[in-house]
């Protein structure tokens, strides 16, 4: 049976993040999250995550995780890659329930974590005002 998780909140986001990092420090940089700064309705938003990494057998990106603050759940995707990818870049599409910040975290082969965040405005929020 499906248990409904709590709606994503900054706390839920932190918890989700901690689960991935095991409490390790997450530094800003090396990750580029590309997402349009304005979207019309959030029903489908394409984004990509690129990590600055040589992607060699000893220095590569192990995983890319993407989270949101205001979707029903914080998780969007966990992508696991390795040196055979050659390039640390993924593209997919997400729903965005509201204007919010999207976070991308990369886990590197040396155990370090790097991140990038982008604020997105869902323009349709504006015309519905206090209901959102």
């Amino acid at each position: 049976m499906l248990v409904l998780p709590a709606l994503a909140t900054p706390e839920a986001l932190q918890a989700a993040l901690a689960k991935i990092t095991g409490g390790a420090n997450v530094r800003r940089g090396r990750v580029k999250l590309q997402l349009p700064p304005l979207v019309e309705n959030g029903n489908s938003v394409e984004f990509s995550v690129t990590v600055d990494s040589p992607m060699t057998s000893t220095d590569y990106v192990k995983a890319i995780h993407v989270f949101t603050e205001k979707n029903p759940q914080p998780y969007v995707i966990n992508a696991y890659l390795g040196p055979h990818a050659g390039r640390a870049r993924i593209t997919t599409r997400t729903r965005l329930a509201d204007s919010q910040t999207v976070h991308a975290v990369a886990e590197l082969s040396d155990g370090s974590f790097w991140s990038d965040s982008v604020s997105v405005v869902v323009t349709l929020s504006a015309c519905i005002g206090d209901l959102v």
């Binding site: 409904l4 979707n71 998780y75 995707i77 390039r87 870049r89 599409r93």
Partner: protein, 106 residues
């Protein structure tokens, strides 16, 4: 639309990094929606995707309800030898789809 559409370059040079696009038909029902009469629509999503190259896993992903219907995944792969690239999506209610493509490396 077929159940799955994958895009793999038919040929590449040894060591070339190629872009792989994988799209599959699926509603990605979030589990948070209701019918018009207020009943919750059960979650029905793809939870896992994996890609293997010559039998070895080269990319995998865990998908969540935020991912849009008909999920698209684009990622990179270093072409080393000619061979088969296999794709597999699996998820709720026993959902499973596979697709494959050949790449010629020379």
């Amino acid at each position: 639309m077929a159940d799955a559409i994958v895009s793999v370059p038919p040929s590449a040079r040894p060591g070339e990094i190629v872009e792989i696009r994988a799209l599959v038909r699926h509603p990605m029902e979030t589990g948070f929606r209701h019918t018009q009469t207020g009943e919750r629509i059960p979650r029905n999503i793809i939870t896992h995707f994996e890609c293997s190259y010559q039998g070895a896993q080269v990319f995998r992903a865990t998908l969540h309800p935020s991912i849009t219907a008909n999920p698209l995944l684009v990622f990179a792969l270093r072409a080393t030898v000619s061979g088969r690239i296999e794709f597999r999506w699996s998820g709720d209610n026993g959902f499973s789809v596979t697709e494959s493509a050949m790449i010629r490396v020379a």
